[in-house]
Structures are given as C-alpha cells and as structure tokens.
C-alpha cells in the first residue's frame, strides 16, 4: 500500500515542459531514489510532493499527487497540514537563523506546541536520531550557523523529524557534504526507513545503488523506467536507462 501516488503529473516552467505525464506509486517505508541526468526533472518531481513547487515563479502544475488518497495539488487542500506530513531536506543545509535548539523546536512550536518539557524531549529525541546529540548537547543555545556543514545538515534532518512526518523528501541531501558527513547522513536515512517513507533525489549513481530499495529513472522530463532497485540496476529494460547506468550519459 503506497503512501504517495503520482498520476499524470505535468509541470511547465513559463510554458516549457519540465515533467510530462509522470505516473508512479512510491512504496511505503522504503527508500526510493529518483535518478537521471541533470535537468531531467528530478527536483521538480520531488518538490511537487510537498508543494514547494508553489515557490517557483512561473510554474504550472497539472495532474495529481495523492498522499493517503488526497490530491495535494488541489488548491483547496490544507497545505500546512500536508507539509507537516512531509519533511524536506534541501541540498545545501539551511539552518534557520536561530540556535540549534530553536531550529529543531521551530517545527513543533509553529504548530502550537508550547510545553517546555515536551519540546526538550522532542529536541533530544530528534538530535539523537541524527546522532548529533552527543556532539551538541553542551551548546544547544549557540547559533546553528556555527556548526560544520555536515552537522548543519543533520540539524536540518532533526528539524524535519521534529514535526513527526510520515514521508521524508531529500533533494541531493549529501552532495554538499564532505564524505564522512555524507556517510553519517546516509546511515541515518537507512535507519529511518523503518518508520518513514523516504524519497531521495540523487545524481550519484553509487549512492542510489547503496541506499535505494526502489528506483525511478527520469530522462528529459519523462518517466522512463521504475521498479525495485535490483530490477532496474541489474536488468534495465529501456535503452536510455542502460545508457545512463552505463555511464554514457550523465
């Protein structure tokens, strides 16, 4: 039973098609990797899943993205509740201009939680889940911007987890990190898939091979092939997939 169902999704930027007739089901509690050459629409597809596409001037979206049966592209849908369900990790870590504690507590706070003890619990829980707790417990009040890039990305992950989402969306979440931090983030994501549906955009094939349970391959805005990681990587059906996996196209 899949959480996210995408049906005939079309996205246009100022009239130019970026995604064409994409239909696919994203499996529950697995890591799904969206792969493909640059400019193929991976990030666009991802950003439709929590309607961050709305932030892009000139973007027009047609079709439906169903999360738990509800089409989130419908203008009448409650965007805020939706976004609580989907956590988002951007490529470049963007800590909010506040302390580490406040960064993680931001989500729960804006949704109305004021109880100090509950907030403390949530902050600790999420920082532990991203194995950052031991590193920062002494300086929760210092600005998050002072952390290293790898730590910042983990704070962003903790921040995303704090609102108790069901889905985690990551847009190349490790590409701005050094190899060690990248490894740590990858490990966290693998641990988290037991409880969350994770969708990752990545242009690093080896990362996809390491992490993915399910693969979606996009090429020039079209959904070319999708299936379990084993199937797609071992026995790609389409020539374009073979070319991409073979390194002929990047």
């Amino acid at each position: 039973m899949s959480h996210i169902s995408i049906r005939e999704l079309n996205v246009f930027y100022d009239g130019h098609p970026a995604l064409r007739d994409v239909s696919v089901d994203i499996p529950d509690r697995q890591i799904t990797a969206i792969i493909g050459p640059s400019g193929c629409g991976k990030t666009t597809l991802l950003r439709c899943c929590n309607r961050l596409i709305d932030l892009t001037d000139g973007a027009r979206v047609q079709g439906s993205v169903l999360i738990d049966g509800v089409n989130i592209l419908d203008p009448s849908v409650d965007i805020i509740a939706l976004r609580k369900k989907t956590g988002y990790l951007a490529q470049r870590p963007y800590p909010l201009p506040m302390s580490i504690y406040d960064n993680v507590a931001y989500g729960p706070r804006i949704h109305g939680l004021r109880d100090r003890r509950r907030l403390d619990q949530i902050v600790e829980h999420c920082l532990r889940a991203t194995s950052l707790w031991e590193e920062v417990r002494e300086r929760l009040r210092s600005p998050a911007a002072k952390l290293s890039v790898g730590q910042q990305q983990r704070v962003c992950l903790a921040r995303a987890l704090a609102v108790e989402p069901e889905v985690l969306l990551g847009d190349e979440p490790t590409s701005a990190l050094d190899p060690i931090s990248a490894q740590q983030v990858e490990r966290r994501l693998v641990e988290l898939k037991a409880d969350y549906t994770i969708v990752l955009v990545t242009h690093i094939l080896r990362q996809a091979k390491r992490l993915a349970d399910y693969v979606i391959f996009l090429y020039m805005g079209e959904l070319v092939e999708h299936g379990s990681a084993g199937d797609v990587f071992q026995n790609p059906r389409d020539d374009r997939t073979k070319a991409y996996l073979g390194g002929e196209v990047s």
């Binding site: 929590n50 961050l52 609580k84 988002y88 963007y94 201009p97 804006i110």
Partner: protein, 294 residues
C-alpha cells in the same frame, strides 16, 4: 598623444574627482563650523542646544524648541510610516505575484521623485483642515498647522524609500530560508515573522534609519504645514518649528541681525551632524548585509 598617455591622463582625472569628493564632504563640515564660530564664541554648545529662549534681537539663540520640534515631527512620521511600510514591503515581497513585484519597483521610484513642494501643497489643502477638525473633536483648538500635519505629510513622503529598501532587503534573503520554514508546515506569516524578518533585521533597521534621516532633513513640505511657531510643542495639535524650516524661513533677516547668520549656520551644522551619523550607520549596516549574503 599616445594611447598610454591618454589612459594615464584619464585615470588621473578620475583620481582628482575622487579627491574632490572627499574635499567636498569635509569642506561642508568645515565651512559650517567656521561660519558657526562667531556664535560658538559667545554661547556654549549646551546653551545653544538646550535653551528655549529664542530672541534673535537680544542675541538669544536657544535652539531647543526647534530641535524638539524636529524630533516630534520626525518621530511621529516614523511612528506612522514604519508599521505601514513594513507591512507593505512584506506584502509586496512575499505575497504578490512576481509581475506585481516588478511593477511596484518603478512605481515606488516614481513616487519617490515627487517634489516636496507638491507634498506641501497637498498638505495645506487636505491635511491641515483635517487636523483642525480632529482637534475640534478632541476638544482642543488648532489651526491645523501642527506637529500632526507635519508628521502625516512627512510619513507619506518617506513611504517610497522605506518600502523600497525594506523590500530589497527581504528579497535578498535566500529562497532556501523560506523553503526550509514552509516545508515544515509554517504559514507564510510565521515564516516572515520568525525567519525572514530575523534574517533581514539589520537591513530593515537600516531602511528605517534612512527614512528617519530623510524625514529629519526635509524642509519644504514640512515648512508649509507645521505652523512655524518658535515654542516647544506640548501636544500633537500644537505648531512646531523644525530646524530646516527655521533656516529656510529666516535667511532673509539673517544678515541684518548680528550673529543670526552664524546661529543659522550652527543649526545647519547640527542638522548635518545628526543626519550624517544616521546615514553612515545605515549605509555601513546595509553594506555589511550585502557582504554577508554574498
């Protein structure tokens, strides 16, 4: 002349221009100081700034009522303008379609170019009578030429600059900041309050300071509606006499009464110093903001 020689000559001219610029800035300060010398020789700075006694014929040049008048009017203008401009700038920056945003900029520039005297005309025609009526309702008497009238006219004059600068500063906050907050399910207002304004705070502050110093130094529009009575205003409905208006109104007599011209030059020096302080502060902050984001 060879190409190199021409190049060097041109480069030399640019250096001279830069030096002239510096000379000019210093020159103004120096000239005002020199012209203020006579009056500074007879009264101390504190007496000039704090005395309320303004009797030029007797040699009394207490600038206190004028300074207070300036502060009242500018302060009121800021009190009116800041909330309105912040709200408008946020609206334009965060809530409107980009075409409206693109149209707003040139429109604001256009409105920023309206000559002060035109604002003064409007003030005399529309604001002064309104204030008179308001005063009646409030139980006190006013001709309408008052601090309130000056504050309203000034506030509207500085709308364009404060809105422009604030909107620009808000736009400079990277999209990722908004994405990060909205992705967590925050409303746009929450994102604005907790993330954007916090990130843009130094720039917004600088915009406000710029607006204030513009208000402080404005002459014509205020002069036409503020009453020009040399007394410390006790209420919003009282007339005031800001420093710029003082200088403007009395240049005719200033040569005939001893030390009057020097006193007015000192007033100009005070204006210069205050505005200088605020503007340099604001510009340094704005440059710092640019450097941090870039």
């Amino acid at each position: 002349m060879s190409r190199e020689a021409q190049d060097r000559l041109a480069a030399g001219l640019t250096v001279i221009a830069a030096i002239l610029c510096l000379v000019l800035a210093f020159g103004i300060a120096v000239a005002l100081l020199v012209k203020s010398q006579p009056i500074l020789a007879t009264s101390s700075v504190t007496r000039l700034l704090l005395s309320s006694s303004w009797h030029p014929m007797k040699g009394d040049f207490g600038l206190y009522p004028f300074i207070v008048g300036t502060l009242w009017v500018s302060g009121l203008a800021m009190a009116i303008a800041v909330p309105i401009c912040l709200l408008t700038a946020v609206y334009i920056s965060e809530y409107t379609h980009r075409r409206i945003r693109a149209a707003a900029k040139p429109l604001l520039d256009l409105l920023a170019g309206i000559p002060p005297v035109v604002f003064g005309l409007w003030g005399v025609l529309a604001v002064v009578p309104l204030v008179g009526k308001l005063a009646e309702r409030a139980g006190s008497f006013s001709t309408g030429y008052s601090v309130l009238a000056g504050g309203i006219v000034l506030a509207i004059m500085i709308f364009p600059i404060v809105i422009s600068v604030t909107e620009e500063v808000l736009r400079k906050v990277p999209v990722e900041a908004r994405a990060a907050s909205l992705a967590l399910g925050a409303t746009r207002w929450q994102t604005t309050k907790h993330v954007l304004l916090r990130a843009a705070m130094p720039g917004v502050f600088a915009a406000i300071v710029l607006g204030f110093s513009r208000a402080f130094g404005e002459t014509m529009a205020v002069l036409m509606v503020v009453g020009n009575v040399p007394a410390v205003p006790k209420s919003l409905f009282d007339p005031a006499y800001p420093l710029p208006a003082l200088i403007a109104n009395n240049y005719g007599e200033m040569m005939s009464i001893p030390l009057y011209d020097s006193a007015l030059m000192f007033a100009a020096l005070v204006l210069f110093a205050v505005v200088l302080l605020f503007n340099v502060m604001a510009t340094l902050v704005l440059r710092g903001v640019e450097k941090r984001i870039a």
